[in-house]
């Protein structure tokens, strides 16, 4: 029995050569790329939509600020029910039964109620706020949840979520706390309070961004600019700019089933992308995949000069 063996790839240094100036090639390439970059920058510039401020949020959508603050106190917001790395209130996502999110641990502890209470506690000289805070802290945990949940339900039923149109009820100090919180947000003090948290130098916006994400305003603004999760959001950026098109495959999975309807979509998509990346990396070792360039001979176009003078036997 005879077997056909694929010829070994010969040493590139054994082939005939022709003069080539690598340094000149690089310098010309650098010149061309620099000119292209300058041209694109001059013509298209770059987007810079200012960050949302808490005072901007409070002025544009005060009802959302109050509803979000109430949700933080009731423990019903996304951050309050998130799980690792922020709290132990959920296990988080898993893949094939492996609780990947939980394995990371709670390394960035965030108490969602404190996102509201701490900035209020920092306020000095307001007896009404001090009294409301004292009443909240003196109450049992179940009582606090009952107050905040009742107020959240009432806000949801009020026209436009307007606190002024909420009927009287047993809400405890929650209306006072959330109204005072709205005032703090309007004043522009909130970012500093949440970011610094005892440190003169800020730099970590985790708590501010979690609070902002818990509201509807951030997502509404993003969706209005075609940046929603189901709009290929994360790879895009504001305005008509290309964003991060190299993330198209990662974003693609979120648009199709089963990922688009899965509760574990993030972990599943990441696991799939890690698998695909590993396959791309180890492609030279995977029979079948590594043979595709032989089956679809685009290489004959690339090396057409060589094959013209070296026809196959």
């Amino acid at each position: 029995m005879t077997t056909t063996q694929r010829p070994r790839t010969p040493d590139s240094h054994a082939f005939s050569k022709r003069p080539y100036d690598l340094v000149k090639e690089f310098v010309i390439a650098l010149g061309v790329v620099s000119l292209l970059t300058v041209g694109l920058a001059v013509i298209f510039s770059s987007p810079d939509e200012p960050a949302i401020t808490m005072s901007g949020w409070a002025k544009a959508d005060p009802a959302d600020v109050v509803a979000t603050a109430t949700g933080e106190l009731a423990g019903t917001t996304t951050s309050a029910t998130y799980g690792p790395p922020y709290n132990h209130n959920a296990d988080g996502q898993s893949v094939l039964g492996i609780p990947l999110q939980k394995l990371g641990g709670v390394r960035i502890p965030v108490d969602s109620a404190a996102l509201v209470l701490q900035p209020l506690a920092d306020q000095v000289g307001s007896p009404a706020v001090t009294g409301a805070l004292a009443r909240w802290r003196a109450a049992a945990s179940s009582q606090r949840t009952a107050w905040a949940t009742a107020y959240a339900d009432a806000l949801a039923k009020a026209p436009g979520g307007d606190p002024a149109q909420v009927p009287a009820g047993d809400y405890g100090p929650v209306p006072n706390l959330t109204a005072a919180f709205l005032d703090v947000a309007r004043s522009g003090y909130l970012e500093g309070s949440l970011t610094s948290s005892g440190n003169f130098y800020g730099g970590d916006q985790t708590r501010s961004l979690l609070l902002l994400s818990d509201g509807a305003y951030l997502e509404d603004r993003a969706v209005a600019q075609q940046l929603g999760g189901d709009q290929w959001g994360m790879m895009n950026e504001t305005g008509n700019y290309p964003g991060q098109p190299w993330m198209w495959l990662y974003t693609f999975w979120y648009q199709v089933k089963p990922f688009s309807t899965s509760e574990n979509a993030d972990a599943q998509v990441w696991a799939l992308m890690m698998l695909l990346t590993l396959a791309l990396m180890l492609l030279p070792l995977i029979p079948g995949l590594r043979d595709i360039p032989r089956w679809i001979p685009l290489h004959r176009l690339i090396w057409r000069d060589y094959y013209r003078t070296h026809p196959r036997l």
Partner: protein, 212 residues
């Protein structure tokens, strides 16, 4: 006057310096580090995209260095800073475009043949690391894009447990990863990739039987 006799030291095989010098000298065959000739089969526009990627990376790093001089918020308040940011953005877009074309070209050439597996692997890892570098750049912009991309991106990295160590909502951490850690990795991978290309040479055509 008596001439001092010249003493020629013989290399000491136990010397770490000698060993390192030999190691570095042996990385690439003599004359192949910066050759003034190429195999005759290197004759296609697809070869240009490797050097274009390198050129774009140079512009990315150069514009990034200018941005670091002004600080993280400079480009929001200065028209010069905004222009440099635009240079940075568009050089990154070009960098990825060239790199993806380079990668596809090498795929169709099956450029991993002839003991070039590590050249392919380092190229893919450099591509993936570049994606991470660009991502941290978007998170470091301190504008609406950063807020939204951070809010969306946190769920992905948190879902696999990485968010506990790599906090996309912490711009201070993301900025340092963007300007120090990840560029160092991309730079090191690029150097290794280029050394491997020079060590093994440009891959010969598929089914080429030998030198000519």
């Amino acid at each position: 006057m008596t001439a001092v006799p010249r003493v020629v030291a013989t290399p000491d095989d136990a010397s770490w310096t000698v060993r390192l010098r030999r190691r570095i000298g042996g990385l690439v065959p003599a004359g192949e580090a910066l050759p003034d000739s190429q195999p005759s089969y290197v004759s296609s526009w697809i070869y240009v995209f490797g050097v274009l990627t390198l050129a774009a990376l140079t512009v990315v790093v150069g514009s990034g260095i200018v941005l670091t001089i002004g600080g993280s918020a400079w480009w929001h308040v200065s028209s010069v800073g905004h222009f440099v940011n635009s240079l940075h953005l568009w050089s990154v877009e070009l960098f990825f475009m060239f790199m993806v074309i380079h990668l596809w070209g090498k795929f169709w050439m099956a450029a991993w043949r002839g003991r070039r597996t590590m050249t392919w692997v380092t190229g893919v890892v450099a591509f993936v690391t570049s994606i991470g570098t660009a991502f941290t750049g978007y998170l470091s912009q301190s504008n609406f894009d950063s807020q939204w991309i951070g809010a969306e991106g946190k769920d992905g990295v948190n879902a696999i447990g990485v968010g506990a160590f790599f906090n996309v909502l912490n711009p201070g951490q993301m900025l340092l990863w963007h300007v120090v850690l990840l560029p160092l990795v991309v730079g090191a991978l690029t150097v290794i990739h280029i050394v491997l290309v020079r060590r093994h040479g440009v891959v010969p055509p598929i089914d080429a039987t030998g030198g000519d």
